[in-house]
């Protein structure tokens, strides 16, 4: 296990290094000179040259890259072009809001995905199985931004059960968890929808797989109750692929949250990336993409370790 752990942790170093290069180069691909863009059309050539020098843009690419990386490693992402504050100050609180939304969505994903999947998997071809599997097929192909709009129309505008936008009530005197959760329900359902459907389908097939194994038949012959067989013995072997897909879905949730955040004006990192792209505020986009990807890589690492801890066969491979 320790050998696996060391190996797996070591593999993310070159990946993260590569990610930083891609993010750096991506921003270099943008047409136009940032110094000119910064100074506007009235700038003189000398002035542009001066700004270029002060930004380090006259240096070769690799020098610029390592300077940038060195700063990033110290948590300095430069300052935002649009609002002129340090990027880190802008990005971190937004990131926290996205983590909250992702966590809420993940809870829905796991509860709905596991619940529907287990019931369907243990009652194959029952009416519940047929209906829920047709529904998951539809939901898995529903665009999140569209589902968000529909939920907003039905649940917020017509029924008025939940607020349509934002994270806290404007009129509330203080930020409470209850208010937050009330605001989070619709965005979390929207973000979770596709992943929950995918997880439900996978849990079902994973259970169908396990339930046909001989050891389950042996346990039935032994006289164990169906509940014990499924929850105690079936679960153990069905779990590794499920944890794997749940881990992958966390990354999907963080990316997919972008659409939800735009639709519901949830002040998260996705909305920040979107509005920064619109404002061409590239240092912010750069930092936000980098931070999100970094967390995504760490989540995948964590998932792999958990799966390996549960399944000795994977450790040895």
């Amino acid at each position: 296990m320790i050998k696996f752990l060391v190996y797996r942790v070591a593999t993310i170093v070159p990946v993260l290094f590569g990610v930083s290069i891609v993010v750096f180069l991506m921003m270099k691909l943008i047409p136009g000179d940032p110094a000119e863009a910064l100074l506007g059309p009235a700038a003189t050539t000398e002035k542009i040259e001066m700004v270029r020098k002060s930004l380090g843009l006259d240096q070769p690419f690799y020098v610029q890259y390592f300077r940038w990386l060195w700063k990033v490693l110290q948590g300095d992402f430069g300052s935002s072009i649009a609002v002129n504050v340090p990027v880190a100050q802008l990005v971190w609180p937004k990131f926290w809001n996205t983590v909250l939304l992702t966590a809420g969505s993940l809870v829905i994903c796991i509860v709905v995905g596991l619940g529907v999947g287990i019931v369907s998997g243990t009652r194959q071809y029952s009416w519940f199985d047929r209906i829920s599997m047709s529904l998951t097929l539809i939901v898995a192909n529903t665009p999140a931004f569209w589902l968000g709009l529909i939920l907003m129309v039905v649940m917020a505008l017509y029924l008025g059960w939940f607020p349509a936008t934002g994270m806290y009530s404007m009129r509330a005197s203080s930020k409470t968890w209850g208010d937050l959760i009330h605001h989070m329900v619709l965005p979390a359902i929207t973000t979770a929808s596709v992943s929950a459907a995918i997880i439900a389908r996978l849990v079902r097939s994973s259970f169908l797989d396990v339930i046909r194994k001989h050891y389950i038949t042996a346990l039935r012959a032994k006289g164990l109750s169906e509940r014990d067989i499924i929850l105690r013995h079936g679960m153990k072997n069905a779990m590794p692929p499920i944890i794997n897909i749940v881990g992958l879905q966390v990354g999907y949730l963080m990316g997919g949250a972008l659409f939800t955040e735009v639709v519901f004006s949830w002040p998260g990192i996705g909305l920040q990336i979107y509005s920064s792209i619109v404002a061409r505020d590239l240092p912010v986009v750069q930092a936000a993409v980098l931070v999100t990807t970094f967390v995504f890589v760490l989540v995948n690492l964590g998932t792999d370790i958990v799966v390996a801890a549960l399944d000795p066969r994977i450790r040895r491979a």
Partner: protein
């Protein structure tokens, strides 16, 4: 039947001349691969229905210039936001008084191309990358697959949005960003298939029989890598239709007044409480088409895999 004949064909391929092989093929009267595939696929009613739906939507979009009752970019302000079933406007009018049915037809062209073309291009590139990496192994494998790992590390939606955002709006840029996002995913599928097939006994047999690496690569390995890529690709088309529409929804895709299903959803956002159909209709279209590609993908998987054929 097909299970018995496949090894015979593979074994003789390296040994005999083309003329012998042709004579043998005539002797066996083996149904063509297409025939076998079609017989399996047409058994699957759901997949057949989904494929028909896709065909109809493609045809209707292609024929948009003929079928579309109105100009999709010119509105009739007097009747704006008219509901479903308005005489002369079956699916109603949007916020600028434009006929939704006409926009749906024209928008279909964009929404389908925006997914189909990148998936095709990315599949071709990925098959080459996966094949080369898997077949040659060693340093080539390291270089290709580790580079792709870097792109794999990004959440896909985020990468697509970032690339499309950096490049700026426009149809070509959207397709480029979707292609870049897809390559690592499809390459992994092609790579895994190549590595698996490379270690099969029939490949050893071909090598022992004196087949050159080029023959082994194109004649024995490539055909076996293609079917998982085709299956995966057809599922991806559905997902990419949704992603492409999402980029347009954000304003990072197609530039108005040209319609696409994502922009149409976005257009309706301001009238949700008075005219929800403006957003709802294109969204339902997206779901139907994306789901159909998904079902066809599953059908293809079952039909192409001899082990799953009933």
């Amino acid at each position: 039947m097909s299970l018995v004949n496949v090894p015979v064909k593979e074994q003789t391929a390296g040994l005999t001349t083309a003329a012998d092989a042709a004579a043998e093929a005539r002797m066996f009267r083996r149904p063509s691969e297409w025939r076998i595939f079609w017989e399996a696929f047409s058994q699957d009613r759901l997949a057949l229905g989904a494929a028909t739906l896709i065909g109809l939507v493609c045809l209707a979009s292609l024929l948009a210039p003929v079928l579309s009752p109105y100009d999709p970019t010119v509105g009739d302000n007097a009747q704006r936001l008219a509901p479903l079933g308005t005489p002369g406007h079956l699916l109603g009018l949007d916020g600028q008084g434009r006929d939704i049915l006409s926009r749906l037809l024209w928008g279909g062209q964009v929404s389908l191309i925006i997914a189909l073309l990148p998936v095709t291009v990315a599949s071709v590139i990925s098959v080459i990358l996966g094949l080369v990496a898997g077949f040659f192994g060693g340093k080539v494998d390291m270089l290709i697959m580790r580079t792709l790992d870097v792109f794999f590390a990004f959440p896909a939606v985020l990468l697509a949005v970032a690339i499309a955002g950096v490049l700026g709006p426009g149809m070509l840029n959207v397709m480029l960003s979707i292609t870049i996002v897809l390559i690592p995913y499809i390459s992994r599928v092609a790579y895994m298939a190549t590595v698996t097939v490379k270690n099969e006994l029939f490949v050893d047999q071909a090598r022992v029989s004196g087949a050159r690496p080029r023959q082994i690569l194109f004649h024995h390995i490539l055909p076996n890598t293609l079917s998982p890529v085709i299956v995966y690709g057809s599922t991806l088309v559905g997902i990419m239709i949704v992603l492409g529409a999402g980029l347009s929804f954000l304003g990072l895709g197609i530039t108005p007044p040209r319609p696409d299903w994502g922009i149409m959803c976005s257009d309706g956002r301001n009238f949700l409480s008075v005219a929800p159909h403006v957003s709802a209709v294109p969204g339902i279209m997206l779901i139907l088409v994306a789901m159909s590609f998904n079902i066809v993908g599953d059908g293809l998987r079952d039909a192409l895999d001899p082990k799953l054929r009933r």
